[in-house]
Amino acid sequence: MYHYNDFDHEFVKTRTAEFRSQVARRIDGALTEDEFKPLRLRNGLYLQLHAYMLRVAVPYGTLNSVQMRQLAYIAERWDKGYGHFTTRQNIQYNWPKLGDIPDILDALADVEMHAIQTSGNCIRNVTSDHFAGAAADEIEDPRPTAELLRQWSTDHPEFQYLPRKFKIAITGSPNDRAVTRSHDIGLRMVRNDAGEPGYEVMVGGGLGRTPMVAKTVRDFLPKADLLPYLEAILQVYNLHGRRDNKYKARIKILVHETGLDPLKADIEAAFESIRKTFVHPKAELIADLEAAFAPPEFNNTRSLGFEDAQTANPAFRAFVETNVAEHKNPAYGIVTISLKPVGGAPGDATAEQMRLVAELAELYGHDEIRVSHEQNLILPHVRQSDIPLVYQRLLEAGLATANIGMISDIIACPGMDYCALATARSIPIAQEIATHFEARGLEREIGHMKIKISGCINACGHHHVGHIGILGLERKGQELYQITLGGDGRENMVVGERAGPGFSADALMDALDRLIDAYLTIRDGDEEAFIDTYKRLGAAPFLAALYPEETDDARAA
């Protein structure tokens, strides 16, 4: 993986020292909260319902064991012993104290990490495919490009005061696991007719109160043109993006209001102008980045241990079915560690669990760890013959939940249990759904299912792209949960359709039962996933199940 050079080290240390002085001045009263707030937000520090929250960037979701151990140390020394992995592949600490933040940032800098640009109207952490570098379907590892984007966007003088926050996602695979079309800019690696890799560039995606699917502005952009082209998009947005209304300030609104073709023309014009004088990164830098993400030296000897263990142990076989994905090396597997124990808080991991994951990565995983936007952890390179051992260790730590892609593998934002913006709680709903369907013994029968829950309209829980999306709102002093159906975050992204009136927390589980029971009845065989049944039959049978006539009176007003 990439290691900081002298410039990176110096930049992060200088910034941390600067923030230490700003915190000291806030504490001694020299800075008011109005003066301090924009400074703390630029360093990832929020104030939530009960405490501060520090959001730490995990660049494109990649960590090594040293970094994971440091995250564990921070959780234990300065927080309550755990951290929360987020839907943008970052980690959040829920309980840090203001006076400790500078020390935490120093501890992060020691392992080449920081919290810069995890908040504010700037280019945020670039997210990527959590299987990058390992996926069997990958054209190229997108992380050298993602790191280049990190370096380009960090402290970029022109893009520090954008109209609104700006999110970029990149994938190197045709099968999109990074929800690129829900980002301000999505980059999807494709090949041109000559077989050269480049990027499909998509602009103006987003979730939140106005969900939009990003539109393609370039079918194929040569890799060498990427930075000047992105600079052109950002320049157009910086100039023309709305600053009069926070809710209309994202680039998706600019795309929508300007129209795709006029905007494309603006971008291309800016690109033509920028490319003439653009100082491209040196070839050595690009070569260094490629080398930093070169595949590890795989051990290609296969053994029968993997198959034998599956035959001998049905629980392990079930784990492999859901949590092990195909690796580009046939002797290896990609192991997803579920942070969704039934009844647990999605995405939370204790310091001990983090240390175990670090140890397993070191012993069996070429020292690589990934964070997924679905709030799980991944060991991307595990020899198949080592997977039974890894499974055993995970099992002993309560980390072997075999539910990836299933109904209990729920994305949920922190919701009103932590978040100052939330209008309702998310985590208890996720816990109840997971517990309920486990009790009904239906999880395996239901099969592939993505439930995503947001505790407010900002949609951190990605409910718009959930097969079943749940949005928590407030209505007449009560929490109310609105259901959307048919959302899909893959390459042909679809925004889910709102089903109808919302449900109280008490009525929600019955509504989901009706929905799931209807699906099990009408699906075309056991293999047809909920989303495929929905695409085949449309909303009608699902709406009939959610809102049967006899329960009309019980509908939320």
Partner: protein, 114 residues
């Protein structure tokens, strides 16, 4: 007819640790809602808020919130958001983690012995 005034108190977050605090009758900040000063009309509410806003060195973001007054005279928030602020996360947020802490420690001991 004018709407009946809903009693109010002033809340904020502590500057240093973010804890939820309430403005008291002594014009200090307390973590106990039972010590909160209660405004019973608009004028008292405005006064309370301005006192709260003057004490920004100790807190962040003073604001008024609606309360109901119990038989013993103590205020309790009427909105569910304020109830979660008062009582902390509604989830037993350390429970699943605590279980695995024990498991991990056991495992650690086993590995050391091996």
């Amino acid at each position: 007819m004018a709407k009946a005034f809903i009693p109010k108190i002033v809340s904020a977050n502590d500057l240093m640790d973010g804890d939820v605090v309430y403005l008291t009758t002594q014009n200090t900040w307390s973590r106990q809602i039972t010590e909160a000063a209660i405004a019973l009309d608009e004028t008292a509410a405005a006064t309370l808020l301005s006192i709260g806003e003057e004490r920004q060195d100790l807190i962040v973001g003073a604001y008024l919130l609606d309360v109901a007054i119990g038989n013993d005279g103590t205020p309790s928030p009427t909105h569910f958001r304020e109830k979660y602020r008062l009582n902390g996360p509604s989830i037993d947020y350390l429970a699943p983690q605590k279980r695995s802490v024990v498991d991990a420690q056991t495992q650690h001991t086993l590995s050391e012995g091996a």
